[in-house]
Amino acid sequence: MKALVLISILTTVSPSNDTLTQYLPDVTITALKESVAVEDLASAVSDISYPELKRNGIFRPNLLSSVVPGLHIPDYGASLTSTIYLRGLGSRMENPVMGLYIDGIPVLDKNTYDFDWQGISRVTMLRGPQGTLYGRNSMGGVLSLSTLSPTDDARPQINLEYGNANTVRVGASFIVGNNSLSATYRHTDGYFTNTYKNELCDPYDGFALRWKWQKHTHENICMSNILSVNVSKEGGFAYGLWRNDTLKSVSYNDEGSYHRLSVIEGFKWHYCGQAVKTDVVTSLQLLSDDMRMDQDYTEKSVFTLQQKQLSGAGTLELTFRRTDENAVCKPQTGLFSFYKRNSLYAPVLFKRDGIETLILNNANSHIPTDIGYLTISDVTMPVNSDFIIDTWNTALFHESVFDLDRWLITAGIRMDYEGGSMDYDCMALMHYRFEPIMTQDKELAVPYIGTVSHHHIELIPKLSVLFKATDAVTLYTTISKGYRAGGFNTQIFSDILQNLTMNTMMQDLGVYLDRQFVSVSADNTEYDPEYAWNLEIGTRLHKGTLSAGASAYYMNVRNQQLTVFPPGMSTGRMMTNAGRSRSIGMETELSWNPERFRSHISFSWCDARFVSYNDGNNDYSGNPLPYVPKHTLQVSSGYSFRINNNTLDIDASLNGAGPFNWDETGTRQEPFRIKAGCRIALVFKDWEIYVRGDNLTGTQGRTFYFKSVGNEFFATDKPRMIMIGTTFNL
């Protein structure tokens, strides 16, 4: 693969340094669905151009953390885990709270949210619920990526970067005729050593390819095709055991790896009639990935998990808008539909230590010693789980924007129908003996087969008012609703099977425990959609080189989806609708870019708490929501020095988030931590050379909390990184 990339670099042309935004018009062009320009949206918006992305070293969505105020995507584990938190919303599993669109194509699967990009010309983040136009999973906001287009006046570009951990990142992007093509490859040896194996546990090799074709086939018709391919081969998670208030080094014995192939093929058709503009956006999406995990993350052979899935989906959106952009009323009506099938193979393999500690110790603790005791002779005990999960959604939406001179009033509503079904086919197999009574092992196979399904209809209204107080200042208020789709807990099935096996074995023996092995059943594995109402006021200022924005919001969340670990020595985890919560917060952004100087500040404050949450054992009402940072902060500043005909760019940044609570009790906290970065670049006419540093402060904060069979684990910040790189504009 490395050779292939190097050959492509040597033989291709490349794009220009800052030219991607150099030709941007005054009115920002994005891939958003809204009928008005970003500047006229009654919503909190973060808009990041290519030069800003480059200066901040942002080449993956999770590096937008804190740059977008309130956005927190912890950088840990494999690219499977795009854990996204925004405005108090979010959870580590299942559906995201943020919609992701690449050139207007929706990315359905959260497992593909984390990828390297090249040739991204603009990143736009709408914050707050955007359910009316974007539907499911956009209750926290929508991240829209605009990629290099064949109509851009950009030069071919090649990037090469090398840094510690033997990290190599190369990329190229160019335009040929009606095609734009970009590709990137990244390798790193890894940052964390698994001391048990004495090897790095988180190596990464990833390749991303993006091809866009765009053509006006007729005076009124424009078509485009966007193909995105991502391939990665990665190591495992770098979790260290937390014991006695000390974080141990990463040390586990079983395999940890993640392989992924993701293909998104999108097609857009735009017709501009005299009265009506019609847009058709359709896509086919394929995901094939395979994760293997030492689920106990210890040196013992307790249990492992594999999660291998093949997922295919098709989306279709049809939108009609009024052609006359100067009309007072700008209506938009659309129909959206998708169907997705996910075939998931997720076996859990209990190994010898797991059979002893999780199964036998638990079972024998219930049995009087004078009666006998249970033994299992198997070296490994498989709990196989096959799932076929179908999800389908159809939505009808309408939004009208009334442009009344200084006032813009937007009203919209969407009706979403979503259905889902899960076929599960699970089997646990073991050989047991009740000693001293039984003299031979007995095979016990416990099947668990069935189907569960759900259907939901959502109404998602929106009303907003924007007032252009002056040419420079706008004020807005919005009330909107969003929802995050429900789903099925697949990761709890090993728990269900484990308990079912124990109960079946006991019945087979004719032994009845006063306390049965209790677990949820498949009927309880469905969780409902989460809803959020958002009330927001905000203001924006654009004056010369100064731009600023501030918003304050109140969000009321019902059916909050939270990941919980079942009590005791359970092995699974599951999503539950934990009750109600509310978030109060404020987000601000300030940019000042006079001539060669540039500065940017993003700051957020969020107080997100349970209004009511009782898990059956404890009442957590009033406690802060776990994993949600109270503050995010990003401060960056830079200056371009002229040296003859060349430029010396010096940029520095501080990036921080926290404090966090790691669980519902509010007793485990991570303080606010800040990391420093910098970039020094010597820019010549056709190329530049730079040095970039990340986490220069060497901050070793804990980035994520994980619990397994009663043990607590943390992932930590990646170490100090120094990269040296060069960019050629051909």
Partner: protein, 152 residues
């Protein structure tokens, strides 16, 4: 004519009655067939006697009906026992009587938890089946136990 009909009917009733009583004598109801019972199990544990209501017992007759097994479901031999067990007493000798059967056995190792359970060897098993009633007493090891149940 009416008198003749009445006499014939009476004769038929008497005949029918005789036939039924003869069948009862040949094979009393529920005695030789496998039957489930529900009743009270009394265990005279060292800590004192305790009763368990609604205990299901299955009487499993052999093909010749001269012996049987009794399965007691979910029984405890101590109120503090954290588990209950299915216990099978095999090899019970069955002697038919006019109204049912007498059940006896001694020094039989019961079956439980997938095998033989010698700690609770059955001694002095004495039982009786009369019509729908099953009663028996036995010592499970050193624990005197008795049962009274009705056919379900």
């Amino acid at each position: 004519m009416k008198k003749t009909i009445y006499l014939l009917l009476a004769f038929a009733v008497v005949l029918a009655g005789c036939d039924k009583s003869e069948k009862e004598n040949e094979e009393p109801v529920n005695v030789l067939k496998s039957t489930d019972y529900s009743g009270t199990l009394t265990v005279n544990a060292s800590s004192g006697a305790f009763d368990t209501e609604n205990v299901k017992v299955s009487y499993i007759a052999t093909e010749k009906a001269d012996s049987a097994s009794i399965i007691m479901y979910q029984v405890k031999f101590s109120p503090r026992m954290p588990v209950s067990l299915d216990v099978t007493v095999p090899g019970i000798v069955v002697k038919k009587t006019a109204k049912g059967a007498i059940l006896t056995c001694d020094s039989i190792v019961p079956l439980a938890m997938g095998g033989e359970f010698p700690n609770y060897t059955v001694k002095g098993f004495e039982g009786e089946i009369i019509d729908d009633d099953l009663t028996f007493s036995l010592n499970f090891g050193s624990t005197p136990t008795s049962y009274q149940g009705k056919a379900q």
